[in-house]
Amino acid sequence: MMNILSDPTMLADFLATALRLSVPVIFAALGGVLSERSGVYNIGLEGMILAGAFGAAVGGYFAGTPLVGLAVGIGFGVLCALLLAVLGVSLGVNQIVAGIAINALMLGLTAFLSRVVFHGQGNTMHLDGFMPIAIPGLADIPVVGPVLFKQDVLVYAMYALVALSYWIMFHTRWGLNIRAVGENPRAADTAGISVPRLRYACVLTSGGLAGLGGCYLVLSQIFLFSEHMSAGKGFIALAAVILGRWSPLGALFACLLFGVCDALQLRLQFANPEVPYQAFVILPYAVSILALIGLVGKPTPPAAVGLHYERESK
């Protein structure tokens, strides 16, 4: 274990693994932040990652180029989110129930359709994906360089999206409106903001981001589609949203912490069976609960999250 810290190459390897494990979760968590800030629980992130992964595989398989896969994957994520928006925002269905329905639907549908579309070869195919591109200069910095700046285009897109969503959320009128709608929809409505329209925009973007997380799994990591490959990443993203206090930057750091835990537990499973690897699987969730209790700084969820908003008179 200790040689990770002493050997720079091994340290860089370890950190690169941690980053790669956290990238899909970061995309989904950004989506979660956006959706919950606007007042909509997105328990369906898991299903949306899966839909994105399936879309990426379908697009990549038939077009032979990862760019088409990327577009289809994001599109599938947005479609799932449209379902959540129609149910949760327009029809006023309980958002948690809607999210669970989306997860069940996508779990079944992607597993079923992948057999149909790929003729049972989903597990053996090898799709063209995105390859790492070293950024000249930056990539040569010891340890940090290869970890952060020798990545593929989706990781660079992730950096940009985190910065962009942080800027939008806290430095633009649009972000102010989103936060207002999530805290006090009635007041926002009175101020002339269309609550449903803004919630639709946030939920759909959230689905696109989760779909992007699925694309990363397929187009940058595994190059194939397998059943239930999201493997709980959508739920880890929900925990990251909490620990990150509903901020894009906070969620980024929470996801990176979870990525380190994940990389540690993977390493422990093989290297040192004496230490229970489950401790590191549990850690993210336990830390999130401690954060909620206020032991790690007290986060407060948006006041109106999960509540359906309806104008009193029509």
């Binding site: 629980y41 328990i43 379902l83 149910l87 029809l91 006023g92 269905v93 309980n94 948690i96 129930v97 809607a98 669970i100 329905a101 989306i102 997860n103 069940a104 639907l105 996508m106 779990l107 079944g108 549908l109 597993a111 079923f112 359709l113 057999r115 149909v116 059943e227 709980g232 739920f235 929900l238 925990a239 909490i242 229970p276 489950q278 401790a279 699987v281 549990i282 969730y285 336990a286 999130s288 609960i289 909620l292 209790i293 206020g294 969820p301 999960g306």
Partner: protein
């Protein structure tokens, strides 16, 4: 005419389920199979065949208990999405009681195991309940997070200290045979768990609808302010309903061990806790309808295997159908007779009648 339309609206859940099955049929057709043959195999296998019915009852047991675990707190206005974790903790406590307590007569030991399982689930629910009642921390988030801690705790237990000697896969030692739950159908896996689940559903119905305890739970759920003014402790209701829900989920886990697997397995619950939310939703958080909802979902799960063997349609299609059922039923709830054009016309006719009657009197 209006009566017919009213009936159409009253039975909207049935139509919603049919719509879900219709979309499911399109999915099955896309897979190159005959949807009618697939559904025939599924429903015949699940409800009209001895061993199929037995499997349906086996699946129904955890679905119903997990459903009740969600229904009870929901009545007090709390969303328990932690039934999955509570199921695992219940199974752990029951297995510990079965393996490590001194031997007792079978029936007594089964009772002790059941109580231990309920305690496990209850303790796991106590954390979110306490945090909600005293610190106003969102129970949706905490119960969700507790699931993963619970699942991995059991994973650690059965791959570490409780692992059976020489086991190829993380599971505990087998429990004594006189601790196995009695079977209700000979030569099948159907065990007593489902009977206990139905009994508890009926009991919950009476408590919720016919007793003062139930009345105060419903009041706290509908209008906590009013409940407070009426002298009810909102805090106590939050804690007790959530903890009792946890105990029910714990019982679901207990009977998976005592009734079906006879060991504690790593990852043994196939998402029964989340399916419990679906059961609670489909039942409209009514304990008696929860029996029907659990029977339906149990039938889908049991029929799926028969369908796969008979027609070659993969069982995963059933997950999509479950999701579709929830989506369509949820959508149907947004359509209310009182809001429909029919209701407007009906009211108009009544107004005209009333006006005519008034004219006649003069």
């Amino acid at each position: 005419m209006v009566a017919a339309v009213r009936l159409l609206y009253a039975t909207k859940s049935v139509w919603a389920i049919l719509c879900a099955l219709l979309v499911g049929a399109i999915v099955i057709m896309a897979g190159g199979s005959d949807p009618l043959a697939a559904y025939a195999a599924l429903f015949h296998g699940a409800f009209f065949e001895y061993h199929g019915i037995a499997t349906t009852l086996v699946k129904m047991s955890p679905l119903l208990l997990a459903g009740l675990a969600v229904v009870l707190p929901l009545r007090a206005g709390l969303f328990n999405i932690g039934a999955e974790g509570q199921i695992y903790l219940g199974a752990l406590f029951a297995t510990l009681a079965a393996l490590y307590l001194p031997a007792m007569p079978g029936w007594l030991h089964i009772t002790v195991c059941s109580l231990a399982g309920m305690l496990g689930g209850a303790l796991w629910a106590l954390v979110p309940a306490y945090l909600k009642a005293w610190h106003n921390i969102n129970e949706v988030i905490v119960t969700l997070l507790m699931n993963y801690i619970g699942i991995n705790l059991i994973s650690y237990a059965v791959s570490g200290p409780m692992m059976d000697e020489g086991a190829p896969y993380p599971y505990s030692a087998e429990i004594r045979e006189d601790l196995w739950l009695p079977h209700i159908l000979p030569r099948t896996d159907a065990h007593l768990g489902v009977v206990i689940g139905v009994a508890l559903a009926v009991l919950m119905y009476f408590v919720l609808e016919r007793t003062s305890i139930g009345y105060s739970i419903n009041t706290v759920g509908r209008n906590p302010q009013a409940a407070r003014y009426a002298g009810m402790s909102v805090r106590q209701h939050i804690v007790w309903t959530l903890v009792a829900g946890g105990a029910l989920a714990g019982l679901a886990g207990t009977y998976e061990v005592l009734g079906l697997k006879y060991r504690l397995f790593h990852m043994f619950s196939a998402g029964y806790g989340y399916d419990g939310i679906v059961v609670a939703f489909l039942s409209g958080s009514h304990p008696l309808y929860a029996i029907l909802a659990a029977l339906f979902l149990g039938g889908l799960r049991s029929g799926a295997n028969i369908m796969q063997r008979a027609v070659g349609v993969p069982t995963t299609v059933v997950d999509s159908i479950e999701g579709l059922v929830v989506i369509f039923v949820a959508t149907s709830l947004a359509f209310r007779f009182e809001r429909s054009r029919w209701a407007v016309l009906w009211r108009r006719r009544k107004d005209v009648d009333a006006a005519l009657a008034g004219a006649g009197e003069k």
